[in-house]
């Protein structure tokens, strides 16, 4: 802005001064004329006129100062402005006159800036600054933590209320959560997730409804609480931003709810959009209190202090209510809860995009160097004609300012679609990325990058002019032999480009290999033709276990009878429950320390339906029907952990050193949806489902064909039993597997795109160098051919020019890659950072590409006609 204003002021000033100049010149002319009329000859008349006129500069300055324009000394500001204007026009002409150069430079830089802006946005909104709200840096989540620290829960309302009243380190507190509600779309019941916002939430976040009002305390009073706030995206999609929506009703759980407001998009970070179910979090309902709790710390207070205070209050509550549970309090900023592998992945990608941008810059610098050969003639000529260095610096700066400004505009145009692409690419597993926002710091960064590039590139050709001896310039004529220095610099740049492309390629290769390993990974069950969903039985209609058991039996009978269904069972893929428990194996002197154990609650036929490998046996129909207790199936990790190398089948254990003994009837393979390191050591047990009395049950169904096509049959079968039960969490197993590796796939895809961009740019670099060598060595080549060099010799010579920097760069890149890939090790799976196969493939690809890039200009060099070249000289 500052620059623009100065420019504008200078422009205005120059116009005024031109005006003054012309006026004064006219006056002098009139004086001369009067002198001539009086009989003087013109030179004398002019001399007299000027003498009479007095100090031109002083008068001019006095006139200018009326307008607040300072004219220091005798420097002609008007001329300066005129120069700037000239420079601008000159630069534009240059840019238009060399369309190839301009287009390549602008698009290279533009894409580079856009890519880094987008990646920076991703890192910024997930890692650096995940809460886009006022005072976001003082906001922190509060959890209850189990004694071992292994489990975290949203805190209980009693504690929350106590904190709200007693905590002094906390400025504000807000809670939120979600509910499952029934929405009918086209007559079909659909289970949707509804956001629940405490009355404090909107003020806490400092957000206002787009229209309408936020929740008020009165909205939580039973009987007045049938109000709803719509998410802005839902309002847009379904109501076309109709402002009349306020006061109308929507039906949730078969009851009318009055729309009182529209929540702004900022609220999406709490109530995120869901691509597979567009109605999820489309509705927000009020509540006095919910479990998920966030606090705003008083300024200057650390999370540790708050944690300490809230912990003390919680302990007091435990004493007062007489219900000690040993839980502690954890206060952490959202930044601490972003998973570390997501963080590492994003940092690696940000590093990668930085490399791409660097390669892009180097490429443009290289092109400027090449162009500088012609430009330096012109600049040297201008210098000899009296253009001062500052003038030339300014001219070059103006020119590159045009290029980078155009690149920045292009980048800004690309950023929107690129962010959209990123959000689309980011799958279910990467919810954090779907909230990526383009915000001001990112914009500032982009502009910063552009400015640095402008300054750096603007002066490249000037460094060459300095080196150019004018006499040598004219002696060499237009052929412009490139000096060894410049060739050297270009070779260094190409080597650098190739090195960075190599690093990018190695990164992409390692991630691709990881992805391949992961997708071939055995999940521990057969995923094809497998579908799972849950059914929630409302308390009102299924008040006790017999009614629920009756429903489950009906479902099993009806669905099991469908010809499209091979097998079905109660139970989920992955985990239903979790508990923390000490395990004492029978015969051991004392229990092993408390650890987290995942629990799945299943029926007979479960392991067969999933196609899991089992030693021993699964549960029998009789065990399910008689509600047998004390039988369990464990996974191999459980067996390995507690029974060493022995088989656990038939062994017994108990939780802690009391309680009843549990018999392990079977051991199944571990279920790994993704195979990533984090979940490889999960202890899992399977219990008959009725050992935990729950309202919600998952089912697994193996179909004969594509499970998606069977889904409507499954729904129909369930709705013949109860017409009002929606299916929730419908998931196809193959899709679950695919989602489970979403993050590595995302990393691999983005990294590969970066690597390809780097390769493309490096290829352009190599091509440029060899073409230039071919062009500027015409003479030398002609002489060589005249002296008997064969086409093959010429080819070898030319390929040598191209390949030398490539090979140096590749070696440099491989060494750097070995060093850098250590940082990626947490992102890799069954691939070491120094995976030889990857390195070999990368080197081959790069070398071949570079060879191809050198080959075309080398071919042209082969066709040099020595007679023509030498005659030319």
């Amino acid at each position: 802005m500052h620059f623009a204003r100065r420019w504008w002021n200078q422009l205005v000033a120059s116009l005024i001064q031109q005006d003054i100049d012309e006026e004064l010149q006219f006056h002098i002319e009139m004086l001369v004329r009067a002198g001539v009329r009086a009989g003087l000859d013109e030179p004398t008349a002019r001399r007299r006129a000027l003498g009479r006129f007095g100090s031109y500069v002083r008068i001019r300055r006095a006139c200018s100062s009326v307008y607040g324009i300072a004219v220091p000394g005798s420097i002609n500001r008007g001329a300066l402005m005129q120069n700037l204007w000239q420079d601008a026009r000159y630069a534009l002409r240059n840019i238009v006159r060399q369309p190839t150069f301009s287009v390549v430079a602008i698009s290279t830089l533009g894409v580079g800036i856009a890519a880094s802006t987008v990646m920076f946005s991703a890192v910024n909104s997930t890692v650096l600054n995940p809460i886009p709200f006022t005072d976001g840096d003082r906001m922190a989540r509060v959890w209850h933590e189990s004694p071992s620290g292994g489990m975290r829960f949203s805190p209980d309302p009693v504690s929350v209320n106590a904190w709200r009243e007693r905590a002094t380190t906390v400025e504000e507190l807000a809670t939120w959560g979600s509910d499952a509600m029934l929405v009918r779309t086209g007559g079909e019941p659909q289970q949707v997730t509804v956001g629940v916002a405490s009355v404090e939430l909107f003020p806490f976040l400092g957000i206002q409804p787009v229209i309408g009002r936020a929740f008020q305390p009165a909205d939580t009073v039973e009987g007045q609480n049938r109000v709803v706030i719509l998410a802005e995206r839902h309002w847009q999609r379904h109501y076309n931003r109709d402002r009349e929506i306020i006061g109308q009703t929507v039906t949730l759980n078969d009851e009318p709810h009055t729309v009182i407001g529209i929540a702004p998009r900022l609220a999406d970070s709490f109530f995120p959009a869901n691509r597979s179910s567009q109605l999820d979090y489309a509705f927000l309902i009020p509540a006095a209190n919910r479990h998920a709790t966030m606090v705003k710390l008083r300024s200057g207070v650390t999370t540790v202090q708050t944690e300490h205070e809230l912990g003390q209050i919680h302990a007091q509550i435990e004493v007062e209510t007489g219900t000690p549970n040993g839980w502690t309090v954890d206060v952490s900023r959202p930044i601490d809860t972003v998973s570390s592998s997501l963080k590492v992945g994003l940092w690696v990608l940000l590093g990668a995009v930085g490399f791409v941008l660097l390669v892009a810059c180097i490429n443009v610098a290289n092109m400027l160097l090449v162009r500088g050969v012609t430009r330096s003639h012109e600049l040297a000529l201008r210098q000899s004609l009296g253009a001062g260095t500052p003038r030339m610096v300014r001219q070059l700066l103006v020119e590159s300012a045009f290029i980078t400004t155009a690149a920045a505009v292009l980048a800004l145009a690309l950023t929107g679609p690129a962010l959209h692409l990123l959000r689309t690419l980011a799958p279910q597993g990467l919810a954090a990325l779907r909230g990526v926002r383009f915000d001001t710091p990112v914009l500032v960064t982009a502009i910063g990058i552009t400015t640095v590039i402008t300054l750096a590139f603007g002066l490249v050709p000037l460094t060459q002019v300095r080196r150019l001896n004018l006499a040598a310039l004219f002696n060499s004529g237009r052929s412009g032999h490139s000096t060894p220095m410049r060739t050297g610099l270009r070779n260094i740049l190409v080597a650098l480009e190739v090195a960075m492309a190599t690093v990018l390629f190695v990164g992409a290769g390692l991630m691709m290999r990881t992805l391949m390993e992961l997708s071939q990974h055995d999940p521990g069950f057969q995923a094809t033709n497998l579908i799972t969903f849950g059914i929630h039985l409302p308390e009102s209609r299924y008040p006790n276990e017999p009614t629920r058991e009756g429903f489950i039996r009906d479902v099993r009978d009806r669905i099991g009878a469908l010809p499209a269904v091979q097998r079905m069972a109660v139970g989920g893929i992955g985990t239903v429950g979790v508990m923390e428990s000490e395990v004492q194996v029978e015969g051991a002197s004392e229990p092993a320390p408390s650890r987290l154990v995942m629990v799945d609650l299943v029926s007979d036929g479960f392991f067969e339906t999933l196609g899991m490998h089992i030693r021993g046996r699964g549960f029998t129909r009789a065990e399910i029907n008689t509600k047998a207790k004390g039988v369990v199936v464990v996974n191999e990790t459980f067996e390995r952990t507690y029974f060493g190398g022995e088989s656990a089948v038939g062994q017994r254990y108990r939780a802690g050193n009391e309680g009843s003994w549990i018999t392990i009837v079977g051991v199944v393979s571990d279920v790994h949806l993704s195979g990533m390191l984090q979940e490889s050591e999960t202890l899992q047990i399977y219990q008959p489902y009725h050992t935990w009395n729950l309202n919600t049950r998952p089912f697994v169904i193996r179909t004969t064909g594509d499970p998606r096509s069977v889904l409507s049959l499954l729904k129909g079968a369930i709705w013949t039993i109860d017409n009002d039960l929606p299916l929730r969490n419908v998931e196809v197993a193959t899709q679950m597997l695919s989602d489970a590796i979403a993050r590595p796939r995302f990393n691999a895809i983005v990294m590969t795109a970066f690597a390809l961009a780097g390769l493309l740019l490096a290829t352009v670099g190599v091509y440029t160098v060899v073409s230039m060598a071919q062009q500027y060595r015409q003479h030398e080549l002609g002489v060589r051919v005249a002296l008997g060099a064969t086409g093959r010799d010429t080819m070898r010579l030319m390929l040598g020019y191209g390949m030398k920097p490539v090979l140096v760069g590749a070696v440099l890149g491989l060494i750097t890659a070995v060093g850098l890939s250590r940082f990626m090790s947490t992102l890799l799976f069954e691939v070491t950072p120094v995976d030889p196969a990857t390195y070999v493939v990368v080197t081959l690809t790069l070398t071949l590409t570079a060879l191809t890039a050198s080959f075309l200009p080398a071919r042209r060099a082969q066709r040099v006609d020595p007679v023509a070249v030498l005659r030319c000289q």
């Binding site: 006026e23 004064l24 006219f26 006056h27 004086l31 006129f53 007095g54 006095a62 006139c63 009326v66």
Partner: protein, 111 residues
């Protein structure tokens, strides 16, 4: 040059310029000549004072400037009196009259 010519009192030049262009707009050179002619060359207008004064007056809104053709068909900047300028001229002329007669009276009495 410049002997026996009274310096222009502050504010007087403004008044003279306004008077010079009271009937028709003129360019700077004409204004200087008009003033000199009307005062029988007693008052000599220095270019160094004239042009800054013109630009100041323009800024104050006493006169308007526009580019036009001079009598010899050259591009010249013409100054025209504005309504404000006219009002100022009348007021100042009156003031000047009082001032001049007061000074005259004083000088006459001391003689």
């Amino acid at each position: 040059m410049g002997k026996d010519r009274p310096d222009l009192l502050h504010g007087t030049l403004t008044l003279l310029i306004l008077k010079a262009i009271e009937r028709e707009s003129q360019h700077g050179y004409q204004i200087a000549r008009t003033i000199e002619a009307a005062t029988n060359d007693v008052l000599k207008v220095e270019e160094g004072s004239l042009y800054p004064a013109l630009h100041r007056m323009k800024q104050r809104g006493l006169i308007k400037a526009s580019w036009g053709r001079s009598e010899n068909q050259r591009r010249a900047k013409f100054y025209e009196i504005t309504a404000v300028g006219r009002k100022t001229l009348h007021r100042e002329t009156e003031e000047w009259g009082k001032y001049a007669s007061a000074v005259g009276r004083m000088l006459r009495t001391s003689e």
